[in-house]
């Protein structure tokens, strides 16, 4: 009886979430799954059932495999480096100094710049003829770099932009984590005469591990879902070097009008992200130190 009333009132509180999730996430997800087994006509309706053909087509298409590779590379470029940079800045900004608040504000500022705005700014920085980067290289008498045009550089350039955009958010979270560490731990270490590096390795990083775990999970998920900067900076080129999977989905759906294969790609992406997250939890949880 009591269990039942609990259930009822719990449902009451959860109802708004459940309705919204069902309408805007679960239903679309199933719809996507459904569409992935079809070809779609000019109006975007399922027209021919093709079974697993869309998936088979994808896994034999060199372009899709390339897109997966690019996505994985992009994740590798952005996630670890992004976290290391944010951690470095957070450690720096955690020092007790006069005016440190100002620096903290600056370090978190990129969180307030939208993807569209920052991509436009970086597009200009990367500009082959009048951009700041090539300008500086010229002043230093170094060869010019075709940032967004050279296939060897393009993914890296987009990765740099992405790291910059994410720094603000990661920085804020890590700084928060740092400030939650119990100061007495340091004080006892101080008495032992431990130096900065020792303290960092033995106290700070272990105590920070839940925060680092949280931010790396969020960064991973975000990196897999990168879209806006690709659309504005490279449109997936050159030679598909930056054709990340979400951008590829967008192109397939909105440029090529193939909702079927686009949906199949979306399903694959979901499975990958789910897999990586579970893996992250399995591997990460062991290393995370909880108080």
């Amino acid at each position: 009886m009591k269990q039942l009333t609990h259930m009822r009132s719990a449902l009451l509180y959860l109802l708004p979430s459940l309705i919204l999730f069902t309408v805007f996430i679960f239903y679309p997800m199933f719809r996507t799954l459904y569409l992935s087994f079809f070809l779609t006509d000019a109006k975007g309706n399922a027209s021919v059932a093709v079974g697993l053909d869309n998936y088979i087509h994808l896994f034999t298409s060199s372009q899709f495999l390339n897109s997966m590779k690019a996505t994985l590379l992009f994740v590798l470029y952005t996630v670890p480096l992004g976290i290391v940079i944010a951690l470095f800045l957070a450690l720096l900004a955690n020092e007790k100094l006069k005016g440190i608040g100002f620096f903290r504000t600056i370090f978190s500022s990129t969180m307030g710049v939208s993807v569209a705005a920052s991509s436009v700014i970086w597009l200009f920085l990367f500009h082959p003829s009048i951009g700041m980067f090539n300008h500086v290289l010229q002043l230093l008498h170094l060869p010019q770099v075709q940032w967004l045009v050279d296939p060897d550089w393009a993914l890296l350039s987009v990765a740099i932009t992405t790291i910059w955009m994410n720094t603000g958010f990661s920085f804020l979270i890590i700084l928060g984590g740092l400030q939650n560490i119990d100061q007495t731990l340091y004080e006892s270490a101080q008495i032992d005469g431990a130096n900065y590096w020792y303290r960092l390795r033995r106290i700070t990083i272990p105590m920070l591990s839940p925060t680092l775990f949280f931010i790396s999970t969020i960064s991973l998920i975000n990196a897999f879902q990168t879209f806006g900067q690709i659309d504005i900076l490279t449109k997936g080129g050159p030679t598909q070097a930056t054709n990340l999977i979400v951008y590829s989905i967008y192109r397939e759906a909105f440029v090529n009008y193939q909702f079927g294969t686009a949906s199949a790609q979306a399903v694959i992406l979901f499975v990958i992200v789910l897999f990586v997250t579970i893996l992250q939890f399995k591997l990460g949880e062991k290393k995370v130190h909880y108080q």
């Binding site: 020092e95 307030g112 710049v113 939208s114 705005a117 436009v120 200009f124 949906s263 992406l269």
Partner: protein, 272 residues
Amino acid sequence: MKKTYLHRVSLYLLLTFCALLLFFPIIYAFFISFMTNTEVMSGKLLPQTFDLSNYYKVFERLPLVTFLINSFIVSCTVMLGQLIVSSLAAYAFVFIPFKGRDLLFFIFVSTMMIPWEATMIPNFFIIQKLDWLNTYQGLSLPFFALAFGTFLLRQHFKTIPYELYEASRVVGLSRFAFFWRIVLPMSKTSLVTLGAYGFLTTWNMYLWPLLITTNDSVRTVQIGLKQLQSQELGTDWGVVMAGVVVVIIPTLLLLFIGQKQLQKGLSQGAIK
């Protein structure tokens, strides 16, 4: 923990260097927004004069004020919606023991892994069927339920001792009263954090507003940015950067005011 003079100076130098490096793109955009086209083309760093004509142009070319107001309305609506919906859900997850709670929570959290772009196409058709194209609810309602928000608030609610809840029931406080009068006030930081997070992410949304609006009546500022760039003709960078500055100033301001709160609250979600 007294720092030596040298130590302090080197720290300040390092901090300043990092700050300059990180903030440079924003300053650069700010400078370019004052430059004439010839100045931009010659690759100068500083504008000769602080000429406002790019700003006049940007406001002339686009209904930017309308766009800004729309962005405020949509962002505030989503922020409020997320706060209400997420806090209710998080409350149920923490204070009401019901069967299948953990499973349901896992399902909630797993929605974080569904890329928004993957469900965008069906969602677009839903909004269209509801006849919500070009409406504020079409822009905001799909974002009310936020797994991240529920997750964050749940972590915070968990720090409230369960004994407090039991005690309040003994005193005769209703479940909702406990939520409203005790839990929410105790979670102010987290709520502010989530609010700011929701506000910022909504403000920055781009593809969704573009898809579900067909006229300028409810369009948001991010679309304005897109409209400033020419396709077949050369882009007028000065004007574009003026647009960028107009678009980022409100969010930067919000961030500068609320930075401390935001950081505190976000970090609480990160630890178990």
